[in-house]
Symmetry: C2
Subunit: 192 residues, 2 copies
Amino acid sequence: MNDLLKTQLGAFIDLTPATEHLIESCFKHRVVKKNEVLVAQGSIAKHLYFVVKGCLRVFMVDDAGNESTRFLILPGRFGTAFPSFILKEPSAAVVQSLEPTELLLLSYEDRERLNREVPGWETMSRKQVELEYINSIRRIESLITMKSVDRYQLLLKSNPDIVERLPARIIADYLGISQETLSRLKNQKSIE
Amino acid sequence: MNDLLKTQLGAFIDLTPATEHLIESCFKHRVVKKNEVLVAQGSIAKHLYFVVKGCLRVFMVDDAGNESTRFLILPGRFGTAFPSFILKEPSAAVVQSLEPTELLLLSYEDRERLNREVPGWETMSRKQVELEYINSIRRIESLITMKSVDRYQLLLKSNPDIVERLPARIIADYLGISQETLSRLKNQKSIE
């Protein structure tokens, strides 16, 4: 089993050989190139993705064709176009690789099977969704109440490397600010 | 057991007399007046609230003293200042009753106990948090991409009664628009 996945699971699940075998039989391995679309807008997200290496971006496209990044799925994390995956409805969001990316794929049915059959899996699932929910609450809070400088500093604090690693266009978009504002924030220590 | 709670649980849990007894022993009943603060900013949210009657509002206050509504907890729903409740950290948000409200209170420890001991409870917990997470994703999407008219129509569709029931100030604030814009939206059938 992949080491990163093993570390994630180990905190919640007693990984006996039989359990490991069942879990491994549920995941599919996939390597994608940069900018590959995994879930298109209007299609149904059939998988939950565990990122082994690289990065996925979940973003929206409005009627005018403007993209806005909803979130990023970094190595060691599970993610997908969640509303589409859970409710089996056409996705409002697009899932795309930002870099060459290595993934483990879990279908809805296999996820439900692991929730039912592997002791500890459902507790892990619940706690992961609780933390994703908390992240999304913080995102809402930052969109509602924070100034762009505070949002930038929150991102720097929670994900120090991605600000340097990803294109400025994606970061600016994620923060809901212009690229000019982002570059001003990067170059200044404080701003009103 | 309260009928509304029984309906909520019945879909996931086999309510034997012993299970019902255990569940009832974990909930505390409380009636609060209008505008009562249940979780103050900076305090720790000690309970998950099940609303039997009335309505709770979860809102933020920024440094300038401006309030912004994060969400509303309506009858038949569980909710609280979730990040504070789960992470046991000081709450960024305030939880307050908007009307005279009847509640059932569940502590963190009792919730974990029910997750461990009542078959089906953790599946219900997980699926509820999944739906709350989906709602918060939609909220983020609407804050990022939607025009005020779309946000207003989404609210009308998902909660038709609250637009009439609650003060315009709260609704405008929830939608991130001015009261003037809200009253224009209420009076117009379409707007660019």
